[in-house]
Amino acid sequence: MNSVELAKKIRLVTAEMVYKASASHIGGALSMADILAVLYADVLQFDPNNPSDDNRDRFILSKGHTCASYYATLGIMGYFPMSYLDGFAQEGSLLLEHTSHYVPGVELSTGSLGHGLPVGCGIAYGAKKLHKNYRTYVIVGDGDMEEGSNWEALLLGAQLKLDNLCLIIDYNKIQCFGRTNEIINLEPFKEKLDAFNWNCIELDGHDHDALRNAFKEAEQTKGKPTVILANTIKAKGWKSMEDTLFSHYHSPNDEEYKQLMEDLSK
């Protein structure tokens, strides 16, 4: 499955999971779907039959509230049977509405923001100390980047020259109460990330070729970690909900679900 086909499938499965569970956060789950697709189709080294393989690349989803599309990705990649996803947010299931390390393929439980990058720094630093070649990838959200702990970790990552670490910011520019730039303005974002001495690549987070090239550049960059500032659209793919605050909370009703699946099937 190439990354475009994978992204489409991730979105369809995610929509079904969120609809069935009447869950929130579909907006952020869809905005990062292309990033997940490129990572799992073309970048990450992993073996779904051996999730604890020592040589696997490590992936952390820091914005744990958008785990639906991450779980969908893990299911599609074969970490568990697709029927396992029916348990999403259901009584007794391990598929919580925030990323859980009890799910095969997941490295770190998240939910509280600002945790993924510091831990990612530790994994990457440990890999260097152990002379291991695996790489570490962390997806954070833009709201996530308002947490001070992430800026501490940006300082640490640069100080430790963690060129085996790649941070991806899903910059969909909407958080709980509205537009990110009206709540805590992160701009000039790229300049800040550059100033923190990371190799910062700004791109369209839905452009698979751009993402692939950026991941390649990250791998080739020595002496500093890479951050991909991925401009994305909240709820990308659900036409009527794209770039809306509503998509942060809203779960599709029956009628909307029909339209959503039509949108995503195109």
Partner: protein, 303 residues
């Protein structure tokens, strides 16, 4: 105690190449023996405790046995959510060492007085919490911690503490450390470096009492506690921590549950000496601040 910690960690690191030491830019003139012996297994993370805990978690995920060194509230309260979510929940092999707890940094003010940390840590599942009372006990507990695979919070005094208790044979996590037996109803439980004061006070006042160092506030060896409170009906607990959530609370909770479950026929008197829900905002030496916080023994406590 910090010297005992560093020296023992150096010993442990000789035969355990997974031991890694992080500091939040503290430990100048203390950590050097480790830094000089194992420069590749030491990192000064700078002053960023939240990221430091995350970094430790990531290192532990790679198989390291990570020690974090800092002082007072900085590696505990400052980053309590990172400790809970990133270390305790996945039960990672991270040992958090806080130096100078209680009123050890006496004149540095409330910011440097770790008097609530045990309560915060006690509430977190998977966490082992230990407050040794003197350098020897610190040495033993650091040796024990190096073999333990999981999260621990180690509360240490600062420097130049006297030896209080004679070295005992190796004991297990959760064990009471018996210093003095007694046939009287009295038993004194003491935790941390305030033990020096307690033992001297008992001697000076010629009180007949059993004395136990209780380094572990979590877990507590229930069968030992049961045996002690069955033999002694008048227990005095002394600690350098808020009364609401420290060792005294832990003992009372355990005794209460044993009594409620019928494990003990009678409920002992338990006198708790700790800090009464207050901050101190005046200068003073450690002993003087302890007095100001009413951390003193009194003849009336004993029968």
């Amino acid at each position: 105690m910090r010297k005992a910690f560093v020296n023992q960690l150096v010993e442990e690191a000789k035969h355990n190449d997974k031991i890694f030491l992080l500091t939040g830019d503290l430990g100048f003139h203390a950590l050097e023996p480790f830094i000089e012996a194992y420069p590749d297994r030491f990192l000064n993370c700078g002053i960023n405790e939240q990221a430091m805990i995350g970094l430790a978690a990531g290192l532990a995920m790679g198989g390291f046995n990570v020690y974090i060194y800092s002082i007072a509230n900085f590696p505990s309260l400052r980053c309590i959510e990172q400790i809970r979510n990133d270390v305790a929940y996945p039960k990672l092999n991270v040992k958090i060492v806080s130096v100078g707890v209680g009123f050890a940094y006496s004149a540095l003010g409330a910011s440097h007085q770790a008097t609530e940390d045990m309560g915060m840590m006690r509430a977190i599942p998977n966490m082992v919490i230990c407050t040794p009372c003197d350098p020897s006990e610190t040495t033993q507990i650091i040796a024990m911690s190096a073999k333990y695979d999981g999260p621990m919070y180690l509360r240490l005094g600062k420097a130049r503490e006297k030896e209080v208790f004679e070295k005992v044979d190796e004991f297990e996590i959760g064990d009471f450390h018996a210093y003095q037996e007694s046939d009287t109803p009295n038993a004194l439980f003491v935790s941390g470096s305030i033990a020096d004061y307690a033992v001297n006070w008992i001697k000076e006042n010629q009180i007949s009492t059993a004395i136990y160092s209780v380094p572990f506030v979590k877990p507590i060896n229930q069968s030992q506690l049961k045996e002690i409170i069955t033999r002694h009906s008048n227990i005095v607990v002394l600690e350098e921590h808020q009364l609401s959530c420290g060792l005294g609370s832990a003992i009372v909770e355990q005794a209460n549950d044993m009594f409620a479950n019928g494990m003990i026929p009678e409920y002992p008197k338990i006198h708790r000496i700790g800090i009464h829900d207050l901050f101190l905002h005046v200068c003073g030496t450690t002993p003087s601040l302890r007095e100001k916080a009413f951390l003193t023994l009194d003849k009336g406590l004993f029968v």
